[in-house]
Point group: C2
Chain length 330, copies 2
């Protein structure tokens, strides 16, 4: 089995194995990714994020099915990132449920990602898995993350279009969450829209968008640090708010239209190229940071490291001075 | 106003200003922290985490009040970390609500943290704010984070005792979340315990603890990579599960007892010193990584950087090879 050639041909076993190698940091995985890299850049990457209980997974499944029914049908890769499950368990369970729902369609590839080693590695492994599916020819790639916070911001850096999923009645804190989510959302989906309070949730999001709109001029302005470019181009994207009931597939066609509209907006406004550059730069920075630290630490004797930590524990030296000492002493 | 001297005296305005300087990365803030460092290491740090809607903030407020009523009373610092609100807004709102509830008690200091610049900076700023409150003499420091995922793991590295807050009826995904949360929890609080399904949530946690117990021998074993030490010492900590109704203060005394029991366990088993070393090492690694990257990037000409990114966007070079080129070219 030639992992690189077979992945390029779309062989599912090769794809699955290569992603496992990436997760496990098997020697040679990076070389394989380097070889695949020229074949990437064709997939359209959509991030889907939101709090637990919003029904993200079901929604992503429905989106996958909708793109399979598209004319012409598109192939779909789904990467479910579970940063809350560093030591496996959840991810495998999730995959099984998924498989049952989407089984039998060779045009869909589903993969859950959980860290096996360091947690910092999850973002990188996810970025690499995207590249594998991209090189394997999947046209739409959905990256789904559980939870709020850093994961959402990371996903926003990874995707061209980011969907934030909300659901009615998840508690008061949701309101506070929105302040931060506002900056990363290209599209809002209010899922479980048959529940009480759905219209209230939609109204709340619209109100916050009204407030934000004036200052941001486009949902991505602040976050991308590119408000200037957006303003100069005169192009404005106001995130649409779609009501969905994923378990019944309701509202999903509208959500697909919203994704397509955002993709067209990015391309027509010239912002697509900018977003791609930012995507690549963010990923590269992450990689560089990791390599740099690895290289640096490998040059420090373990006894020197332990001694330094002990001195900090005893409060004989502070971390800032210690870092300076190490960095100067190279 | 001498920020260092006044902070050591417990002056609230000095503390608040110093934390703002840390957030804003004002020149001199690091020097101030270095000067404060010998005065740290006395506070007991408790992490409180959980999904949105679990009522964490109310619970932390009640814990703060409980420690103020302790005999003898302990001073309390509260740091509310909101990684979902990178561009402010939420944090300020949260502070105001907090202030109203805890106002008038000079023995409590409440501070919300949100990133003003890079998101990677939030973990560091939080660690630094803990040091400021520690040096200022606050005896108990509660660090509260919204959300799931990386933030939880970071908080686990920052705290001696980590409380994971759950609430009944937050959706099916909670179950999946628990797989990952299990490793960082020293104590579980099932809040809103008057809601339907509370007993079910408690049972579900207990069952997962039963499953985990055999393999972990102590909730921290796998996460800390210290399973061996725990086993050798013969000491085992099984995370207790406390039912609370924070809005009425119910169950809070039991939760306080659980915190004190865990603190005693860490001290008596000798694991406290180990946890402190891990805390210091994790923080130092984070700092070093940041400094290293800063130093490295400052030596690269902006044109060279942009050119490299462009070449990656055009798929002429892959990120792994590009990183190697940069690292070798120093």
């Amino acid at each position: 089995m030639n992992l690189i050639q077979d992945t390029l041909k779309g062989n599912r076993r090769a794809i699955a194995r290569l992603i496992s190698h990436i997760e496990d940091e098997v020697p040679g995985a990076r070389e394989a990714l380097a070889a695949l890299y020229p074949h990437t850049g064709r997939a359209y990457i959509v991030g889907v994020t939101g709090a637990p209980g919003t029904g993200k997974s079901t929604l992503v499944n429905e989106l996958a099915k909708a793109y399979r029914r598209w004319n012409p049908p598109r192939t779909v890769g789904v990467i479910a990132v579970d940063p809350t499950s560093p030591f496996s368990g959840g991810a495998i369970l999730g995959d099984r449920i998924r498989m049952r729902d989407l089984a039998g369609d060779a045009g869909i590839f589903v993969r859950s990602m959980a860290t096996r080693g360091s947690l910092g590695g999850l973002a990188r492994a996810t970025a690499d898995a995207i590249k594998v599916l991209d090189a394997a020819g999947y046209e739409m790639i959905f990256v789904e993350t559980v939870g709020a916070g850093q994961a959402e911001v990371d996903i926003a850096k990874t995707a061209y279009t980011t969907i934030v999923v909300e659901a009615p009645g998840l508690g008061d804190e949701i309101q506070a969450l929105k302040a931060g989510i506002m900056e990363i959302a290209d599209i809002f989906a209010v899922n479980k829209a048959d529940r009480e309070g759905a219209d209230h949730t939609v109204t709340a999001i619209q109100m916050m968008l009204d407030l934000n709109h004036a200052s941001h001029v486009g949902g991505q302005a602040l976050r991308r640090g590119s408000g200037q470019a957006l303003r100069l181009s005169g192009q404005v994207w106001r995130p649409p708010v779609c009501k969905t009931i994923a378990v019944r597939g309701e509202g999903v066609p509208d959500l697909v239209q919203a994704i397509e509209a955002h993709a067209a907006f990015l391309r027509e406004s010239g912002l697509f190229g900018q977003r791609e550059r930012e995507r690549v730069a963010a990923e590269f920075e992450h990689l560089l940071r990791e390599q740099l630290m690895r290289q640096f630490v490998s040059r420090i004797a373990p006894e020197q490291w332990d001694e330094l930590i002990e001195r900090m524990v005893r409060r004989e030296v502070d971390p800032y001075t210690a870092a300076e000492m190490l960095l100067r002493g190279r």
